[in-house]
């Protein structure tokens, strides 16, 4: 049985580790700077010269955020195996999209000499469409990035005497600093180190929790229909609502889309996808297993039965041996920082290349965006998972353009992206169940109508 501590003792150790983490990350970012950050090509996509292993680790660390160790552990704890299925659908979809579209996008980014995701879209659909994509990305990703800060700040607050607001400030400084100093190469290298920490700490946490309840596999049926789908929580409607936006994540979220530009050659690109898949499978198994094991322990009275699923991981951390709690806590911080600074850097590249066409504006936007995200996070809006899904739903409006870029010679995209984005905003406000599906349907319909009408006029 886990014993919850009465408090104290953790503060100095955590602060010391946090300081070491900040210094080490800053040193890596400073070292990366020596390899060149002058041109946009060097600063935002590391000169298109990143090897397969680093590309895979930065892709994984960017994709897998604080949502995994905080949100998904809690979701598996509260809702059972459906949480694993939801995440496995995401991974299978990502492998499909990356293995088919990845090579095409990698090649197109070189042919068009595109640095930012919106730039690639703008080469075909025009500057207005590129600017619209930047605005949509900004609107959609501010809540998503804020969810990272909320997740990690809850953990820091629980583990130490640091207040929620101070934790948000510390996270925000690290996000802006590493992105600003080292550009994408700095972010990729710090991502790689942190990705290893994320996997190692998850392995240690699972081994520890399993050691407390070695009979888990025999007892798992005690949580009943939570181990099958559909069930009272994972209805087909909920599954579609959550899965559709995440299924297309690899092509709709600029921070991961842009990583398709960075592998140095074809072999590095393939390695990036395959190694990312291995990382993703392993990390998802570990994280969801943790949630399920804690739920079985809760049913047995060996762990608190929590109503707020976002408190599952913080409660576990406070009950672990100190060194382990510190390691897992830092891994959550790492997961949040790696995702957030990649988003901020990607948004900055679009502000720099597609809106102002000015390097200084791009660099300044790193600071402005980080402050905006921190302010949004400080209001703690809604649940972490809901926020993340809202972002992915709104970004689905970009998906029809990306397919059209690859499969058609269409050149009009502004109408489609704007109408589908507005559809997403309105339907989310009305709490419509299938907003993601509607965004895609409207986007494709308007795209076809706009381009076929244009062809008709020309003909």
């Amino acid at each position: 049985m886990l014993t919850l501590p009465s408090g104290g003792g953790m503060l100095n150790s955590f602060e010391t580790l946090l300081l070491f983490y900040a210094v080490a990350g800053t040193a890596i970012a400073l070292y990366a700077r020596k390899f060149g950050v002058k041109s946009d090509d060097e600063y935002y996509i590391a000169g298109r010269n990143v090897g397969g292993v680093i590309s895979a680790l930065t892709y994984a660390a960017t994709t897998y955020s604080a949502f995994m160790m905080v949100g998904l552990v809690g979701l598996a704890y509260a809702s059972g195996v459906g949480a694993y299925g939801f995440e496995m659908f995401y991974l299978a979809g990502t492998l499909m999209l990356l293995s088919y579209y990845g090579p095409k996008i990698w090649k197109l980014s070189r042919e068009y000499d595109a640095v930012s995701p919106a730039e690639l879209i703008g080469k075909r659909f025009g500057k207005s469409t590129a600017v619209a994509m930047v605005i949509i990305s900004l609107v959609a990703l501010i809540p998503y990035t804020s969810s990272q800060l909320i997740g990690v700040s809850l953990v820091i607050e629980r583990m130490s005497g640091i207040s929620f607001m101070t934790a948000i400030s510390i996270s925000a400084v690290l996000i802006a600093l590493w992105a600003f100093i080292g550009g994408l190469r700095g972010v990729a290298w710090t991502d790689a180190v942190q990705g290893v920490i994320m996997i190692l700490s998850a392995v240690i946490a699972v081994v520890y929790v399993f050691s407390l309840n070695p009979g888990f596999f025999g007892q798992v049926s005690e949580i009943g229909d939570l181990m099958a789908v559909p069930n009272r929580i994972w209805t087909p409607q909920l599954f579609i609502k959550l899965t559709v936006p995440w299924f297309f994540f690899a092509l709709t979220n600029p921070q991961v889309f842009q990583r398709l530009f960075i592998p140095k050659d074809e072999k590095a690109l393939k390695r990036m996808v395959v190694y990312f898949g291995i990382f993703g499978l392993l990390y998802t198994v570990l994280v969801t297993m943790l949630g399920l094991m804690l739920r079985v322990m809760a049913e047995n009275g060996d762990f608190p039965l929590l109503k707020d699923r976002d408190l599952v991981t913080p409660t576990l951390l406070s009950a672990m041996p100190e060194w382990m709690g510190l390691l897992v806590g830092i891994s959550i911080l790492a997961a949040a920082i790696t995702t957030a600074n990649s988003i901020i850097l990607s948004l900055s590249s679009m502000v720099s290349r597609d809106v102002f066409k000015n390097q200084m504006a791009g660099r300044a936007s790193i600071l402005v965006l980080t402050v905006t995200v921190a302010l949004f996070a400080s209001t703690r809006p809604s649940y972490i998972v809901e926020l993340a899904v809202m972002s992915s739903t709104l970004l689905l409006s970009i998906f029809p353009l990306i397919l059209a870029l690859i499969h058609t010679k269409f050149s009009r995209g502004l109408e489609a992206v704007l109408v589908s984005f507005l559809t997403g905003l309105v339907l989310r406000y009305l709490k419509f169940q299938f907003t993601g599906v509607a965004v895609l349907a409207v986007g494709f319909a308007v795209l076809l109508a706009a381009n076929l009408t244009k062809r008709g006029k020309i003909g």
Binding site: M88, S221, M227, V229, P230, I278
Partner: protein, 52 residues
């Protein structure tokens, strides 16, 4: 051909919704095997980019 591959993977992922009703680790293990198999297929098949 690629559409058939995508459809096969998605249909395989949907099987637990219809065919697995036990309350043990069967659904969990099934999804793990499907994704691991697809990952292995992705790793070993020849990509378009390798034929450039």
């Amino acid at each position: 051909m690629r559409a058939v591959e995508f459809a096969a993977v998605i249909l395989a992922m949907l099987v637990p919704f219809i065919a697995i009703k036990t309350h043990d680790m069967a659904t969990y293990i099934y999804w793990t095997v499907v994704v691991a198999a697809y990952l292995a297929y992705t790793a070993f098949r020849r990509w378009d980019v390798e034929q450039l």
